[in-house]
């Protein structure tokens, strides 16, 4: 086994460098990341509240043909946000201090959930959202000024394309991760 011993000798010649950051800055970073996560969750929660508020603010419930598509759009968006918060909490509770074997199993389940969300739930929600947006367009045309209608149409289309690209990229990343977990 002299070759492995040479290998080990070489490995041990690496300088035992300390990381660039002090322990105090690590604590500071941890606190900052925790705060950032709480703010993200708060913003997502607030988004659901604003969407619901908007629904009642424009008295959508008084006009059933507008209320249903709008409620569906808000509903799928809210559900997707809830799933995102669930993912965040799950990721925090994966148990990094558990044994590698147990952690790999848990990480596998988490990534299966993420893949299901990205491959099934999100495309269904995305399709539903586009469909309801198209259903609402004639009402927008009647109810809004031509300029504002054009703005809603163009900004809506751009948002959907950007969102579509983002989702596609996210799905690719999750799939790569899941593939490596099965190795």
């Amino acid at each position: 086994m002299s070759n492995y011993e040479d290998f080990k000798k070489l490995y041990r010649t690496q300088p035992l460098d300390a990381p660039d950051m002090s322990w105090e800055s690590m604590v500071k970073k941890s606190r900052f990341l925790k705060k950032k996560l709480r703010i993200t969750q708060l913003v997502l929660g607030l988004t659901i509240f604003i969407l619901t508020f908007f629904f009642f603010y424009i008295s959508a419930q008084d006009m059933l043909e507008v209320a249903i598509p709008l409620a569906i759009m808000i509903g799928v968006l809210a559900l997707r946000i809830v799933l995102e918060v669930v993912s965040m909490v799950w990721l925090q509770k994966l148990g990094y201090s558990e044994t590698v074997d147990l952690f790999r199993k848990r990480a596998g389940r988490y990534h299966s959930f993420r893949t299901a969300v990205n491959l099934v739930v999100t495309p269904v929600f995305y399709g539903t959202y586009i469909w309801q947006f198209i259903v609402l367009l004639p009402y927008f045309k009647v109810g809004l000024s031509p300029g504002f209608y054009l703005y809603v149409l163009i900004s809506g289309l751009i948002s959907l394309v950007v969102l579509g690209c983002y989702i596609g990229n996210d799905i690719r990343k999750e799939l790569r991760l899941l593939k490596s977990l099965k190795r």
Partner: protein, 164 residues
């Protein structure tokens, strides 16, 4: 002992060892290793309350380090090899750098589990501690280490490492 004091002690004692372990997962790229070590110690800080003292604190830190590295390498594309070889004399350091590159190339050819096991072995951790980190039996680790040593010996027998 306060949480801060405990964390400081853990950091002073284990940061350099974690750094060397992490380098094995990122093919010697010091910049990525630094980011990863930060990530490891952020998790150490966040999970410090879960340490019950039923295992060695070093074992506990290594578990977090290995799990963090596994999550990291899964989410990254293929890495380029970088090394931190000493640089006293140019020609000599070039040769050492080539040996380091070859060493990381050999480690990188191993699967996730094997890579983790051998990196812990290279840190001189006893096999029962490696078993406790990996969640495997001592016997399983012993067999695996023997097999990985053979693989690495074959790999080490290439041009760069033979000259070492």
């Amino acid at each position: 002992m306060t949480k801060e004091k405990l964390f400081e002690t853990i950091y002073q004692e284990h940061a350099s060892k974690v750094m060397r372990l992490v380098l094995g997962y990122v093919k010697g790229d010091k910049e990525q290793a630094n980011d990863l070590v930060q990530d490891v110690f952020v998790k150490v800080w966040n999970n410090i309350h879960t340490f019950k003292g039923d295992s060695n604190i070093g074992t506990w830190v290594y578990r977090i380090a290995v799990n963090t590295c596994l999550m990291f390498i899964r989410s990254k594309k293929k890495l380029t090899i970088y090394t931190n070889a000493p640089t006293e004399i140019d020609q000599h350091s070039d040769e050492i750098e080539m040996q380091f590159r070859a060493m990381y190339e050999c480690i990188d050819q191993l699967g996730e589990k094997d890579r983790s096991i051998i990196l812990l072995e290279l840190q001189d951790l006893p096999q029962n501690e490696i078993a406790s980190i990996m969640g495997m039996t001592h016997e399983a680790i012993r067999t695996r280490v023997h097999r990985i040593k053979n693989i690495l010996s074959k790999c080490a027998n290439n041009e760069q490492l033979r000259r070492f």
